[in-house]
Symmetry: C2
Subunit: 200 residues, 2 copies
DNA sequence: AAATAGTTTAACCAAATGGTTAACTTTGCA
DNA sequence: TGCAAAGTTAACCATTTGGTTAAACTATTT
């Protein structure tokens, strides 16, 4: 049975195409071509485009989110956790450069489904939120609420990936090597930036 | 001649739909419905979907970008410029909440065109870049390159808009009023965050 | 008022798209 | 070996989509 292999080929191909074009922009034929199979096979293994998409999308999230949350469950000092978070997230992005744009696009397309997915898996932020509030009341970091710190962090990490096509052209003379160097630099730049902002 | 009014109705309707759904997700019929006119009128005033899209997209950018750059041409102290930039940008976003997601989606769809558009209009960052380098060499702010500071700023400003559907649900119990309050807070939070990070 | 140019509409079209069908091939196993 | 199930394919289908057309309507000009 080539079944397992074919199904896997489909998932991989769908990942490529969906990541680059999003749900709306992707074509089933394109996915089939990328996988090197007949289009009917897509519907043999997955009922519909929607189901295939969900499989891919939530497969990616299931892989990404738990790793990020687990960082905050370690017993490192708080600022080291931030450093680990930045590095881990950024490493993942560098291997999946289209992911942020993809995730945010779909966040806006069907937010309820995503929200439900996270709730179902017990993925919430209360643990991290409490941790930050404690750091603030202990006077270890300057006052800031969790949503603000979270938005700041994610924003800084994600922006150079989402904006890459423009940033690379306008700020790095469209030199991809220079831009990759820039991306790598950001791990320490962001960490330093946050540490200083939090007065640590 | 209802011409001018009809054309304007089309542009406004197209703006709404394109902002929410992007180029791929938008339907010409939907735009016609939103404008309350016959679909053929879209092609009467604009040759194609692509041309209509470009008109809308670059109309928005033409309005947004110059205002942002002019802030840095004023003679305020540098950190006040940052504050003004954050406030101005954020005010614009609050009036056009779908804009960031939209812009970044299209940045990825056709980067060359956007890059050319900016070049044609002389919209480049050299002025601001020089300004920041000068601040650093004068020792007024901690060392940081322009691309890093730019990515940090834009990321922090834009993130809560791009991620709103999820953030509001997961961090604010899906209460839109609380989220709007959060968005407003961010202007000062970001400004403070940056000032402290830059050691000012 | 007649001719003309600009505006609007309903009906239509070809291409693309997600999805189905029925026949054919391969595989696992009694 | 033979047969049932799984896997695969080409051809097909209904709907959607961007776009066109020709006729009708409206305003302007003379």
């Amino acid at each position: 049975m080539g079944s397992d292999s074919t199904k896997e080929k489909i998932v991989q191909a769908a990942k490529q195409i969906f990541l680059r074009k999003g749900m709306d922009g992707a074509r089933m034929q394109e996915i089939a071509d990328e996988a090197g199979i007949n289009k009917a096979m897509l519907h043999y293994y997955f009922h519909s485009k929607d189901q295939l998409f969900d499989e891919v999308f939530y497969g990616i999230l299931s892989q990404l989110i738990p790793g990020l949350i687990s960082i905050f469950k370690s017993d490192k000092p708080f600022l080291d956790k931030i450093e680990a978070f930045v590095t881990e997230y950024d490493t993942y992005m560098s291997r999946n450069p289209f992911l942020p744009q993809f995730v945010f696009r779909e966040i806006n397309r069907d937010p309820d489904q995503l929200s439900r997915f996270m709730s179902d898996r017990g993925l919430n932020f209360e643990l991290v939120e409490g941790m930050i509030n404690r750091e603030v009341s202990n006077g270890n970091i300057r006052p800031i609420t969790f949503p603000h710190l979270f938005a700041n962090l994610i924003g800084m990490i994600v922006m150079p990936y989402i904006g890459r096509p423009l940033f690379q052209r306008k700020l790095f003379k469209n030199d991809p090597i220079e831009y990759d160097r820039f991306l790598l630099e950001r791990r320490s730049v962001i960490t330093q930036f946050v540490k200083q902002a939090l007065g640590a």
